[in-house]
Symmetry: C2
Subunit: 395 residues, 2 copies
């Protein structure tokens, strides 16, 4: 039989490697057990989420370790899950990860903490069990509203430019920019948000203590210094492909809107977009030249997924529900149909009698005379003793 010490004492002892253990014994046990669950499971493990939510992390862990019944699972689910989880059960691995977290200034935020971003609960059983935060955990409470700007790693200079313009405008205007810390669009978005002194958040697929990609170490440090670098996997975890795909769901869930700036036909950012759509978050895509492979994915989002066409930061703000200035009305035109015809019938060289203008315009003379008067008031027509002609614009 498997044994694992999840007593309040063991919890306090393990947590002391990492942070001041909470005074309340129950809280310490649950907090520690959450960390353990986070080691046992891969991101998005809905079975673990159900057990932990149903009975609390500590009780769930104890029951699972002791092979006790878990009524919220079918017997098959329970057996299968234990086969996944138990081989990873190691107090030493947990202790190692907590030591690294402590050393690198990574803190823990669970669903019981005040700084927990409750919008993640929209992920339901796929919500993360906890978040590891390098930087300011209080930043997590400032993400409503926020926008995720994501896209191709191999971005074009157009994509980089647009990502920077959008991020600088949005972050500079107080809307935090969430992204994934990658090369290309992600990096451009973080960098521009930092440059204007805005809030930006990076969600990593591997442990929060380590920059990925390594070439972004300095950038990710800067994000942590002013905002936060987040991960749902414990310190020391490698950024596997699976974790990237799961990390994408967190980006989509944390932000109110996801905008894909540039993406190839099969870009990973389309996966983020898919999560955003599934979560009923706003989804936008920036168009680009149809001759550019790096816009094929954003066009796909426009065509097949009903993404909003984003051409400016203002478009993003509108998508977030900030009302724009009154739209320019564009159809005063009907009222001026006849005026257009009268103006068409004028010459810039020859004076024409109103009757001649009327015939050319195909309008009655009275109407034509009235409209000529209006055109004169607008500065579009000139009158003389010989008749009418178009006014020569002096500007």
């Amino acid at each position: 039989m498997t044994t694992f010490d999840c007593s309040p004492e063991a919890a306090r002892s393990a947590l002391s490697l990492f942070e001041e253990p909470p005074g309340d014994a129950t809280t310490a046990a649950d907090r520690y057990a959450t960390v353990v669950w986070c080691h046992l499971t891969e991101p998005g493990d809905s079975v673990a989420h159900r057990v932990v939510t149903a009975r609390g992390a500590a009780a769930a862990l104890r029951a699972m370790v002791e092979d006790a019944p878990l009524p919220e699972l079918t017997e098959r689910e329970r057996t299968d899950a234990r086969k996944r989880w138990l081989p990873r059960l190691s107090a030493r691995d947990v202790a190692d990860a907590l030591r690294v977290a402590s050393a690198r200034g990574v803190s823990l935020v669970t669903a019981r903490d005040a700084t927990w971003p409750t919008q993640l609960d929209d992920l339901d059983v796929h919500a993360p069990l906890c978040l590891w935060v390098r930087g300011d955990a209080a930043a997590l409470t400032r993400l409503r509203p926020s926008v995720a700007l994501v896209g191709a790693r191999a971005a074009s200079s157009y994509g980089d430019h647009v990502a920077m313009e959008l991020a600088a405008d949005l972050a500079g205007g107080g809307i935090p920019v969430v992204s994934g810390g990658a090369y290309g669009i992600d990096g451009a978005a973080h960098r521009a948000a930092l440059a204007v002194g805005g809030l930006t958040i990076a969600l990593l697929a591997g442990g929060a203590e380590r920059a990925y990609p390594a070439g972004h170490t300095r950038l990710i440090d800067d994000v942590a210094a002013t905002g936060a670098v987040l991960s749902e996997v414990p310190c020391g975890s490698a950024p596997t492909k699976w974790r990237f795909l799961q990390r994408n769901r967190l980006i989509a869930a944390v932000a109110d809107a996801t905008v894909v700036v540039e993406a190839g036909w099969r870009s990973g950012s389309l996966n983020t977009a898919g999560h955003a759509a599934a979560l009923c978050r706003q989804l936008g895509a920036v168009p680009g030249p149809i001759t550019s492979a790096t816009s094929a994915g954003t066009h796909r989002l426009l065509r097949e997924f009903g993404a909003a066409c984003i051409t400016s930061a203002q478009d993003v703000r509108e998508m977030l529900g900030f009302t724009a200035g009154a739209a320019v009305p564009d159809d005063g035109r009907r009222a001026t149909d006849a005026a257009t015809r009268v103006h068409d019938a004028l010459s810039s060289r020859t004076w024409r009698a109103a009757t001649d203008v009327a015939r050319r315009a195909g309008l009655a003379v009275e109407d034509t005379e009235a409209l000529l008067g209006l055109l004169q008031l607008e500065g579009a027509a000139t009158r003389s003793a010989e008749g009418w002609r178009t006014a020569v614009r002096t500007n």
Copy 2:
């Protein structure tokens, strides 16, 4: 009292300037009267359309000239309309236009002719009374389906390129390309359609006998030589702004779909797009860089008017209802979630036991072994006595 000879004899005599007059006296009278109406009215005159449709062109003309009652109009409509129409009533103007038409090989197509494009009747009372056709009138019967490719006169090289690619692909594949003969996008579309030996149709705002712009004389001649150049206004009519706006409704009505390739924020092609939408024709817009002023109008169509995002000729064919090859299914992914995790857990350098792989993947050992077998079959994993690792791809 106004007099105007619209007897069958006058009709035959006038038409003889232009074409072999029809044998049937009624037909000759109606045909001539249609030509006269076309001189009296500006494009889109719904009052004229109602009278002509209600009683036939000849009877309507006679009643109008003789100041007889026109029960399909209110008295006010009748009075106002006569004030517009009568000043233009001139048998000599009509004769002059018919002579020009004859000299320039321009023929007449009315709603009674077999070549009349009946899709124009969707314009209802705003349908043209007739069409003047330079080129092959039979081409008018080959426009279902067809696509209108329109856009900015001041197109960018990107816009020109895209217009040519789309037009060549569509016209080359048997879908006629309709456009307006202007500089920029229109010209590129006509030119590419001609280059691949496809059918292309130009709809002009002025008389069909004269190329507008003059710089496109050669191009418009080529369109007439292989397809047709159309106008609803008589030969000798100038292309006024009003007639441009009205010409746009014909482009939208003739084609099954209108695609705006490039357009500034207030481009005239947005007017064509508006007509297409109002007529429930398919509407598409080609995206471009958001940094390009010549794509601001197409992005507006995507954002505000629900235009389809067009990235290829194939997209246009789909819009026209040609079913594409079966779309590439994109969500086999769910089934391979676990395989991704197993593959993530392999090293390219170190052999790992299946139990180790299972623990790293967070999966049960049996499942992991089955998935390793699949990955081996796919050539993604290699097995040895020491365990498993990722296969080194040789291609």
